[in-house]
Symmetry: C2
Subunit: 239 residues, 2 copies
């Protein structure tokens, strides 16, 4: 927690907030903060600044909050990702959030196991919890939007072309001949397949929707590694 | 397992190998391979090619092995990393290996908890196991070397300047004023701090040893995200 993210329910006055639970424990045990100390804070979907600890008890920390800075710029990216296996999904969601992804689409694909969609990590409280961890890590406040699409074909045929609009659209596909562009730094839609990749039919449908198939080199990377590698390569001006 | 890595002990003849245990189970349950199928294989620290399954039983798979391709190019990088917490270390070791890191130095630092050095993941069989997983993921054969340095000062004063030689040397340090260079694609030593970062004394010592402090932008990333982001940014011609 490099920044304590404050929700509307944490505020007791426009410039006063109470931290309880995990965030208070973190203050005490990790940051070893005391009354009078200042810690970085941010208001969900709002500004960042600092909170001065004016009271610290065994159950809560009261902060005098000053919000005076904008959060870091969002990535100009819609990330369309085949639903990963649950354990990996949780980490990828935190990582994508920490990297500044604000628009995440979870898509079905042939090699996505049906059971992946049953994970409790897809329920809203769990999504929020993991995005909060990502924002607190990266010192950001703006919550990503997560869209769940359990049907590949209707999404790719009907929604994806509109989502792309006049943006660059890429599908990361090992074995294709075009290398992924570097420092694009422009609005982009990026599709990433499941473990084992999109099948040829799926790549073809994505290409018909306007995506260009690109590769990252000879190495096959896990989605949790491919996401930071791709984001860093495409947006070296933003990350 | 995108490639089955073969050790000397797996070979029964120059062109015959037996897979048992995890690798045989993977063949059967994930790849659903049958006799006559070809799977990608590689010889540890040697060439890659394919193995034709000539016999598949409940305990072993016999492969007719053809090795005819070189593994992907190694990254021209020595990665010097403050020892991460054990769970993260395991993932970072796999990730760094998958990205093509061949020279990894694990270093003590002020914010490295003493207990991190006690992890069984640092024992040679566990190191090998996780590097094998990284190589099998990325389709590579060349095992990284891991160097363990539990004393910061002697390493940074005596060994690091020699390790750097005439290479570019960087220390990733959030909050510094110089941004990390992009597409360097040249021999590099890269130092990454622990959770919470190197302390100012440590950054100063690293700078004295020849490292330039660089930042990755406003966002603070976990080491497991920072490694692929940095590698992708520095070596877009290699990854």
């Amino acid at each position: 927690m490099n920044l304590a993210l404050l929700f509307e329910s944490d505020f007791t006055a426009p410039d006063r907030a109470l931290l309880t639970g995990r965030r208070r424990v973190h203050l005490e045990t990790v940051l070893r903060a005391a009354e009078g100390d200042r810690i970085p804070v941010g208001q969900v979907n709002g500004k960042m600044g600092h909170g001065e600890i004016i009271r610290l008890t065994e159950t809560e920390a009261e902060l005098a909050v000053t919000l005076n800075r904008h959060p870091p710029a969002p990535l100009p990216l819609s990330l369309v990702m085949a639903m990963p296996r649950p354990k990996m999904f949780r980490r990828v969601l935190q990582t994508a959030t920490a990297l500044g992804v604000k628009d995440l689409w979870l898509l079905n694909a042939w090699k996505v196991e049906k059971s992946f969609w049953q994970t409790p990590w897809l329920e809203q409280p769990a999504l929020t919890e993991n995005m909060v961890l990502g924002l607190e890590q990266a010192m950001d406040t703006v919550m990503p939007e997560v869209h769940i699409r359990k049907l590949f074909k209707p999404f790719v045929e009907d929604e994806l072309p509109r989502l792309i609009g006049d943006r660059t659209a890429l599908v990361a596909h090992p074995g294709t001949s075009t290398p992924c562009p570097t420092h694009l730094n422009a609005p982009t839609v990026l599709c990433i397949g499941p473990e084992g990749g999109f099948i040829p039919y799926e790549v073809e449908k994505l290409e018909q929707a306007g995506c260009q198939a690109v590769h990252l080199g000879q190495r096959i990377l896990r989605v949790e590694t491919a996401v930071p590698v791709l984001v860093s390569r495409l947006f070296d001006g933003c990350v």
